[in-house]
Symmetry: D2
Subunit: 330 residues, 4 copies
């Protein structure tokens, strides 16, 4: 029992990635009730693994059977579809690419809500339109279940190391229950308000991020053309009011910083087409709430143009490269 | 002599605003050679006072005689025009509203270059087009004088308390001489490179600042409409990749922060029309260097629209108010 | 004969000249089968009247009973809801404010599809997201009915005078049947392609219209400030490559043209908030098809900002006024 | 004399390109006084030829001697520099790439104003900043000469066939004298107002043209993705309020129209970098007059991005290609 407590304390810490799997005894696992997981893609896979590491029996499914292999080998039970997951457990996490997938997984013919138990806790970590989150919450409520939106920030690396940030929307009284699970997969779990506000926070952050990144790229490019050394310019911006995350932590100009995609030909990181998708969501919510977002909207268009010009799979900081004059003869 | 050195060391510190004027003895003042100052406006006035406080005899002029009164009472010698300033001293600081004023003060019929002494150090702290700085430098060089551009960041408050940041462009071997004077008026004096790079750094910073401010305003407005509490949203952004100076230090949403213009109906601070002017400079340099600056350009247009709609004299963070829906019946 | 004259006066509209009234005998009217009409707002009302004028018995409904009065007095049969309309006739036209209304009127609990007859022709003249048109078409097809989208261009005036332009999407073999009805209400009926292309054409036109209008306003404002007479500038543009509908037919500058909203303080015409709605649809379709529309997107934002600043109900050409500097002291 | 008048009438017509050169007798040529021409580039060359064809003795110069060959063979007298042109004739036309060239040609060490005769008529057909036109006019006036700005619309083809449009700014009483010469080279000669308004009209037209072209490209691209046939969409736009010169006369979508650059891989026509230059001028004048031009400004940035991505020498309608998704795997 002491071991369990110790393990439990230990596991709650940030270094959960070092968890020795052998150490997590069967007895310990048995003491936790199962968790469902739908969507074992690049992000869902390491997230589900972290749940397993923390001793939760996992019941999982994915439309692509091969995606289930890894977690199955680690002990997860694989079932045919989301409805079966809901049939076997009353806490389910979903991690899906986009709104239509979420709608299908919850309300489709083999969807969670077809067999959901009363009182179930359904946590969706997909990044989708907050209006869809609200729809899902309303549909879940009709079945006596609770739906929360909990999109993440941090990429595959953070998912693997359990360092994601979760932004959670939904009934406040359910937050503690959600946090218990999300803490296994993330370093920060922030309560944002009613259903949909988790998505809202995620979308807002990424819109401002995109604006800051393009702005930093334009500014660095202009400064260099005006004769400034890029490292010096970055230093000046970072001690001044131009400072932002894109200038001081993820600078898009090759050579200014180490360990960021700009130093690695814009490989890895957060792809331009994923940013374009998030900006599309921001645009949709701005349109439906009649909110003017001129820079956010233009940022969306710029990432869309980049996708059209071959930058879809490069890190979103490659906008620096896109804007910079490269061709000869001009 | 020791006293002088001690005083000098003391004055170099950040608490120079507390300098007891009585303590700065006549003997001390006599030991420093005079400095010319052209342009005693809102910024130039407190800057010239700080030179006086640091014991420099000041020879000053301004097109508006009444602007000269205050520094005259503090001991400055007032002369008729820039040429006369140049006739009496070989170190001159200029602080003027815009490029045409600078051109006139240096190369006009009563301009500095009409009577400049060989070897003079001419420091222009105006914010102007870097191309004009280069022209002035070339014209000064023909007369055997040295011209440096040294625009400031920080407003009237920083000018009064001697806490400005100077971004300096020009011959590196003259930087020490320039720094001696600028340190009396500023907390940071940064060498940026060849002539014009001080302007470039200033312009770049302010362009990115404007982008960050409008982006933050759009984002906060969108988040609030999506149901997020503004303080919570600011907190989330500031711990995430959306973080920027406008979100964490100068938040544009009333009530999120204290001690910033958004808490005071956007009074004080940095006026929208001044930001529009700086963005115009950024636009001009971008155009002449053929650099694409899509967000910087749109930011310029937005501040221009705001000037047209009555926001010219409000702090530039009032873009939040401009974008927010206010009218009824919609 | 007296009846004919009375009828002629009544018809009043400009296209009545093509109706040979003597020919429209009672017998002839009786030979026409009834048409359903759902949505008797500013546009639907005159459209339904034109159907009546052309001898079609009309069976109509609207959520606001008072909207039904006028057409009832002219002989239309008023029923309780769309399902009842579908129960009584097999050709139905719908004219509704936005996508959710269309979804409700077709697929809601009292919706058309609840009682639609096999083989019915359902024509939706609302301006909505083409994706919703496609959904409605699929839902109708399941019930054995045919759905076509047929949004209009032209405002209340064109609706009254039967001069609307209809852009029609749907199965080509049904176009003739649709055209028979639409010709009663419009001067042009254009077949655009598969379901949703009517909406697409409408949305595309209005996006380009908005871009042209804002562009014309910027250009005219700039030209005037550069010393050009606005009438002369309009003339030069209109004989050159800057020519567009907004410059030559609907000039936004007061005094350049007669008979347009700019000459009447931007009253009447096509409201800014309606344009903002259409641009929102364009934005949504661009986002979902991943199409970059940088100017369309910025046009959307500008109309959105205008709505936030009190221009919601002014004609969309008032963007000239919005952009023009008005305040003093700048 | 009658012959001259007859010839003159004939030559004034639009078919001046058909003028039989042999027919223009020496006697006839002798009866006209000489005209100076500075700048024999792509545009200046055919313009000077048209002056020769109309019987004007031409005295020309260019910085590149080889540019002078063709007109020399046709009878023009070639001199060393603009000052010499001014020494030999009192009517001079200049056609130069950009503002700095104009400043040099007029006010440089070998500039026109060095030897200009009192009462000379100086006509600048370059497209430059109207502020520079005003400066040149002021400088000319000091020397007792008259300066007019007369930029052209129409490209090399129109220059060859004498079908240019001239937009003329300057003293109205000199317009007749200017028109006499310009009519030899253009089909339309429009008086715009005081000095600089010719440039203003040109710049305004091209800004609106760029907006219309990008807008048309976005719209056509969106429409095609929404399932519309491009020819049909163009037809619909052209009969509706979306109509503009770029949609009905110079459609950017390959296959929609014949005889335009979009049908020829965007070769020929008006190059993207020339459009970017004109938009830079528009931007500069908007900035200096504090005029908001949001779409014009974004259009500038888009053409600037295109130059950075390899489109500098393609026709400006290639923005359709730039915006269209081309790469695979997205």
């Amino acid at each position: 029992m002491a071991a369990v407590l110790r393990g439990s304390r230990y596991l709650g810490g940030k270094c959960c990635k070092h968890v020795d799997f052998a150490f997590v005894s069967t007895r310990y696992m048995a003491s936790k009730t199962s968790v469902g997981f739908v969507g074992l893609g690049n992000m869902g896979n390491p997230m589900a693994k972290n749940l397993l590491k923390h001793g939760y029996p996992v019941i999982a499914t994915d439309v692509f059977p091969e995606s289930c292999k890894e977690v199955q080998e680690l002990g997860a039970q694989i079932v045919d579809n989301p409805a079966e997951v809901a049939d076997k457990t009353d806490r389910i996490i979903t991690m899906l690419p986009s709104s239509p997938n979420v709608i299908d997984v919850y309300t489709g013919p083999n969807g969670i809500l077809k067999k959901v138990k009363k009182g179930s806790l359904l946590i969706d970590s997909s990044t989708i339109d907050p209006a869809v989150s609200k729809e899902m919450a309303a549909a879940a409520e009709k079945m006596g279940a609770v739906f929360m939106d909990a999109p993440v920030s941090g990429g595959v690396g953070a998912a693997s190391s359990g360092k994601l940030t979760f932004m959670v929307g939904g009934a406040e009284e359910e937050f503690t229950a959600a946090k218990e699970l999300l803490t296994c997969m993330g370093a920060n779990v922030v309560y944002c308000g009613q259903v949909g506000t988790g998505q809202a926070a995620k979308i807002c952050n990424n819109m401002l991020l995109a604006i800051g990144m393009i702005g930093t790229s334009e500014t660095m490019n202009l400064g260099v053309r005006l004769g400034l050394d890029p490292k010096l310019l970055a230093k000046i911006l970072n001690m001044s009011s131009g400072r932002c995350w894109s200038s001081d932590t993820y600078n898009p100009v090759p050579g200014v910083m180490e360990g960021v995609p700009s130093g690695n030909n814009y490989q890895g990181g957060f792809g331009t087409q994923l940013m374009a998708k998030d900006l599309g969501l921001a645009q949709n919510t701005a349109t439906s709430t009649k909110t003017p977002v001129p820079l956010g909207s233009l940022a969306h268009q710029i990432y869309r143009m980049m996708c059209a010009r071959g930058y879809a799979n490069k890190d979103f900081s490659s906008v620096f490269q896109f804007l910079r004059e490269e061709e000869e003869g001009q």
